[in-house]
Symmetry: C2
Subunit: 303 residues, 2 copies
Amino acid sequence: MVDIVILGTIGLDDIETPFGKVKEALGGSGTYAAYASSFFAKPGIVSIAGEDLPKRHIDVLKKRNISMDGIEIKGRNFRWGGFYEFDMNEAKTLKTELNSLADFDPELPADYKKAKYVFLGNVDPTIQLKVLGQIEKPELIVMDTMNFWISSRKEELIKAIKKVDVLVLNDSEARQLFGTVNLVNAADMALDLGPKAVIIKKGEHGALLFFREDGKRKHFSAPGYPLEVVKDPTGCGDSFGGGFIGHLAKTKNLSEANMRKAVIYGSVIASFNAEDFSLERQKKLTWGEIERRFHELREIREF
Amino acid sequence: MVDIVILGTIGLDDIETPFGKVKEALGGSGTYAAYASSFFAKPGIVSIAGEDLPKRHIDVLKKRNISMDGIEIKGRNFRWGGFYEFDMNEAKTLKTELNSLADFDPELPADYKKAKYVFLGNVDPTIQLKVLGQIEKPELIVMDTMNFWISSRKEELIKAIKKVDVLVLNDSEARQLFGTVNLVNAADMALDLGPKAVIIKKGEHGALLFFREDGKRKHFSAPGYPLEVVKDPTGCGDSFGGGFIGHLAKTKNLSEANMRKAVIYGSVIASFNAEDFSLERQKKLTWGEIERRFHELREIREF
C-alpha cells in the first residue's frame, strides 16, 4: 500500500553549472518528488521509463521506501539537457527528447487507486487529469506545473487546477499564468479557480502559502535557507513538492498550521537538493539533518 | 537636540509608474529616511536644497518632528526623473540634474555633532565620510549606498564601509559590489570589511540581516509584506533605513534581537511608502497602523 501517488517524469539529464557537469544523471519531476517524499512516507511513482534507463538509477529508487509498480518500461527514456549560467536562477534548455514519454498513458496499479495523497508533478495537464480520474477517494491533491504547459496547454491546465486542493508553482509561472506581476493578486486569482491553497515558490527567497478562510486571504511567508553553495538547482521545485506532501501524508493533518510546517519541510529538502548534482545530496541526507535545518529556519525568522 | 543625523538628498522628482505620474514631487534619500525615522525619534537632515524648492515641500518636513538646521539653501534644487515599467522592480532614470548638490560641502550644526545615531544616506561616499568626520562620539553609524557609487567611486565607498557599524544595500548592489551572485557570500565579504552587521534589502522578498558573533555567521530573514497595490516604490529603500535607525535610536538597544525588530520596523515603513507616490502615504500614516503591520509580519511567518 502506498501513502502517496506521485506522478512525474523519470529523466536522464545532462546538466552543466558553474560548479561542474553530469551526463545521463538520474532526474525528472517524478524522481525528485518521490525521493523527497520518501523521507516522510511511502510514495509510489506513476511514470514511464525507457529500456535504456541504467540499472544503477533504478537501484537508487529501489533502495528507498519507494514503490516502482506504477512505472512502465518502454522504448527509449525521456532525456533533458540544460545548463545554468552564473546567476543559477533559470535553467536554459539545450535539448528535450520526449521519447517514450510521448506515448505515456498511465494505468494505475490497484493499490495506488486507493491512495489518499496525490502529487501531480510537472507533466502534461491531460496526463495529470488522467491520473486524478483513477484515484478513488483522494483526501489531498497537490499539483505542480511549469511555464511550458502554461504557454502550450493553458485551457487543459486551468481544468486541472479546478480539481486540485493545492496548486504549486514558481513566481514567474504565477505571473505568467495570471497576467500580473503582483504575487498577491496572482494568488487571489488562483484561489478563485477553486484550490484551497496556493504555494508560490521563490527559489532563494523562500515560498509563499496563500489560503482563503471565510472569504479572507491568509498568508504564510517561508524564508529561504541561506545556502553558501548552490551546485545545481535542478529538481528543487519537485523536491519541495515531495517534502510538502510527504509531511502532510505522514501527519495526516491538513490544518493551516500543519500546512505551514509542510512548506518548511519542503523548503528544507529543496535546499539540501541544491547542494549537489542529481540526487547526490538527498542520497546522503539524514533525518537529523532535516530536523536541524527545520529548526534553523525557525531561528532565522524569529523577532 | 536631534536623536539621529540623517545625511541624504532633498529632491524634486518627476515619476511615472503604471499607476500614475507626479511632477516636482518631494523626494530624495534624506527626505524619505528622515520622514520614516521621525515616527520613532527626532531626526535632523544634513542636505542641500535649492531656492526653487516649493514652500509646500518644506512645510511637509517642518510639520513633523524633523530638524531642518542642517539644510543649506543654494541655487537650483537637485532634480531626478524616472519611470517604472510593469514589473516595478527597478527605476529607469530619465534625468539626473545635480544642480546645487554638485557643490554640497556639509558643515554640521553644533548640536548635530553630538548626535549618537547617524544615517549616511545614499550620496557620494566622499560626502558620507565628511559628515562622519564631524560627529563627535557616534554610537551607531548606518550607511546606505547604491549602484551608481559602486561603479563610479568604489575605492572611496570601501573606505566609508570600513568606518560604519551597519551597511545597508539591496541585493543587486550586494552582488555587484562583491562580485558574487550568492548573497550569503556577499554578506560575509561585507562583514570582512568591518561592519558589525549587513542588511541586504530584497524589495518584495523582504530583507536579510547578517551578523558575526565569535567568528560565526548569524542570519535573520525578514519577510516581505504582501502588498496588493504598489503604486510607486521610490524611496522605499531610504524609508527602510529611516525606520531601521529610528527604532534603534528610540529604544537605545543595539542587541541582535532588537536589530531584528528594527529591520521589521524598517520593512513596515517601506511597505506603506510603496502604497502611494512621494510621501503621500507616510503623511497619513499612524502609529497604530505601524504596530498592526508589525504584528501582521510576525503572524505571516509563524510555523
